[in-house]
Symmetry: C2
Subunit: 459 residues, 2 copies
């Protein structure tokens, strides 16, 4: 009998285990593969590690405008892969250490949820006062003819590629698809992206998404296009009512992920549209059974899963806490990067709010100009409530947007108003100043003249 | 007659002019050199632009562990300098545009402050309802024999160097000295730093400063050393009561900057120890006369000057505002970078507060590991009030600390507590998570077990 049994050791599960262990709870965590889950083993960490290598390659080849000349730049996929593996292994050991440090018992195996707050693993039964389900998700492969072909892979397999393809077609222009598209494009490989919707990366501001596509010069985008079939290297898709086709050596399926609920169905657990239904305390319909992370389908991001894990543990321990989704940042580690937190302009309008927005171009920021040049795209857009002037959303494209968004998350979570943000001192010269400048642009818009940048007007 | 006359168009003056112009005030700004002041023309912007070029050079040469091989990497100083000049020029045009956009009148010339809220420029008198002094500061050259030699330069001249030296001695291990030391060291040039104090960069956490020195392998540090004389290439300094010497082709004097008060002395303005004395509204002892930026000697940073400019303008316009120094971030763009905001551990202790601190190593952060490798140094230390658990300080060494510190400034300015920061969701995997992990380490320290990192314990 454990205080808490956790099924799945991804960023939802292992963070929950750490927090619970630290609070003195007896914890069993069951994992059928590796500690760290998809994020660490086949998601965020390996992807970002490889992306970084490809960015270094691109940068080494393109630093002449800054006075740096490199002849003979080459990319060694094996070396990049072995570094990626080393990073994953190191981080995995970190999670293992963390579990030991907090007296969390680790069990390797596939867990099945049984009635009465019990699970079975390899025929053995374990019982807990509470169970946290964090079984994650898996890539979804659409039922398209040919999608079982040898050239078709998901993000799982692409991270184990033995050699680089000459060309790749990425099916799905969401976060995962775009990161891999960028990764291969950074290396000069021909990339086609086929996306059913009329724009890439659904969570992005539409203006930003359009600019991002324009910046990704090496990628051919096929929007509003539906993949029909794969025959060898030939992909046929429907665009504007007509069949078109393209060729690619490798096909990456990145149309989405599905919650892993297969092992949860024997218990009366409320599963709706393939997702485990939870309330804001991460409680399911069954007493003592919580679910966190991708399996809830609510916010399929590693850091959301971790926060959900904390919320679940706090509620188990009698500490008031609830999951909120209004200040969850996201980031895409493409070239250029994009990130955001809170409501987009479109979402805020759709919610019926009266809002104000302002944008600034990053090229008017001294550091951005110095480090990215005169022609690189970059924007920061902020969304505030027109009446209260509370910050609702910050949306970034360009530079190291992925690192700036944490500050935005802190401001949105703290419900800061325009006048409060105006008093925060941002370091100069830093790219972070764009957030301040966009907020000032909101403030200025009410003045005599409207301007959209600290340095220069919007273009 | 103007509503506001501003003396000096640096980041204090031009931001004040922009804000005041936008509020409909008639503004005259007087500048004897270029718009943008030291920061834009001979400080932050050119330095960071050149530093970036040298970082790209270093990176192109050292990316093999990530799978990127570049043969024949070379650095072209002329090209880097011309890019630096282009960035400065572009930004200067930005300031010029901003002045026009806000109907700010620009006068080129040297202003002298007269009694009765008047100034004279080239013999002509101008009068304002208010005057904002933002005359900035200039490099201080210590009265050391030989300091007028041909090989001795300040930060002004080093930014105009026609060719790279073979070796350089940097006198002063503060922010300016260390940035140039890093710049030349990144290019493989022999660098010696002579510093009177027993540690570099006074505002840094002492633990961090020590690690930073250790990371700067190409730089020879001579701490607790006093420069005695310069004879040609030979520098003699006193260390431990004994005279020692070293040789350098170029000597950079970076021992500090002095407020420019020469043009302010005819008026009864309160100047103490070379600094114009101001209150928290940036008012001097003379009615209607304000001072902002370096000339006050209070916080000699560009972004402090800008904020002071805003405070002065707000007070002139009858908007309540006051300058606070508890959440002023700073950043050093060295390799590795360092940054901080709020109280250091030592400052907090000296203030008599009961505090808690925690540190995490960046190498346990997934993104840091992926992008900086296993051996790179990096730390985040947080300081909180033991009783209230309000965040007092965040101190960063490594990675892109300079961009993370804005988020820290927002948290400190908002007086967030540990429990509030624990609920902020940081994007994963991002370096920004180190701030969260350090705050969690504070929270955890009160629990059953003490740990200093999200991933692993302190080493």
């Amino acid at each position: 009998m454990y205080d808490i049994i956790i099924i799945g050791a991804g960023p939802g599960g292992y963070v929950a285990a750490e927090r619970a262990g630290r609070m003195g709870k007896s914890v069993l965590i069951v994992e059928k593969e590796n500690l760290g889950g998809v994020c660490l083993n086949r998601g965020c960490i390996p992807t970002k590690t490889l992306l970084n290598s490809t960015k270094l390659y691109k940068q080494a080849k393109n630093s002449a405008p800054y006075g740096v000349y490199a002849g003979d730049v080459s990319f060694n996929w094996d070396k990049a892969m072995s570094w990626k593996n080393e990073v994953v292994e190191t981080q995995r050991n970190g999670v293992s250490f963390l579990m030991k440090e907090n007296n969390v018992e680790i069990l390797k195996g596939s867990a099945e949820l049984l009635e009465g707050k019990r699970i079975s693993v390899d025929g053995k039964i374990y019982e807990g006062d509470n169970i946290i389900i964090s079984t994650g998700s898996a890539p979804f492969i659409p039922p398209v003819p040919g999608s079982d072909g040898a050239s078709v892979v998901t993000s799982d397999e692409v991270l184990e590629l033995e050699k680089l393809p000459e060309s790749i077609a990425v099916i799905g222009g969401g976060v995962i698809g775009m990161e891999f598209a960028s990764l291969f494009s950074n290396l000069g490989i021909k990339v086609d992206v086929i996306e059913m919707m009329d724009e890439i990366i659904p969570m992005m501001d539409k203006d930003h998404a359009r600019v991002m596509r324009r910046e990704m010069k090496g990628i051919n985008f096929h929007l509003s296009s539906q993949l029909l079939k794969i025959e060898g290297k030939k992909l046929t898709y429907l665009f504007g009512g007509k069949e078109e086709s393209l060729e690619a050596e490798l096909v990456l399926m990145a149309v989405g992920r599905r919650p892993n609920t297969g092992s949860l169905k024997k218990t009366g657990l409320d599963i709706n549209k393939g997702r485990v239904v939870v309330n804001e305390k991460m409680q399911t319909n069954l007493p003592g059974i919580y679910a966190v992370g991708d399996v809830t389908g609510l916010s399929m991001l590693a850091h959301s899963a971790s926060r959900m894990g904390e919320v679940a543990v706090n509620n188990i321990c009698g500490i008031r806490d609830r999951m909120r989704y209004n200040a969850v940042p996201w980031a895409v580690y493409t070239s250029p990067e994009a990130a955001g937190c809170g409501m987009t302009e479109a979402e805020a309008k759709a919610s019926g709010r009266n809002i104000k927005t302002a944008s600034v171009l990053m090229k008017h920021n001294g550091r951005f100009l110095a480090e990215h040049g005169k022609t690189a795209a970059g924007t920061c857009k902020v969304v505030v409530d027109a009446k209260t002037e509370v910050l609702l959303g910050v949306h970034l494209l360009g530079g190291i947007s992925s690192e700036l968004v944490a500050g935005a998350a802190a401001m949105i979570e703290s419900e800061l108003r325009v006048n409060e943000i105006k008093q925060i001192i941002f370091p100069h010269p830093s790219l972070s100043e764009v957030i301040r400048d966009a907020v000032w642009a909101i403030a200025n818009a009410g003045r005599k003249q409207a301007s959209c940048s600290h340095m220069q007007p919007k273009e």
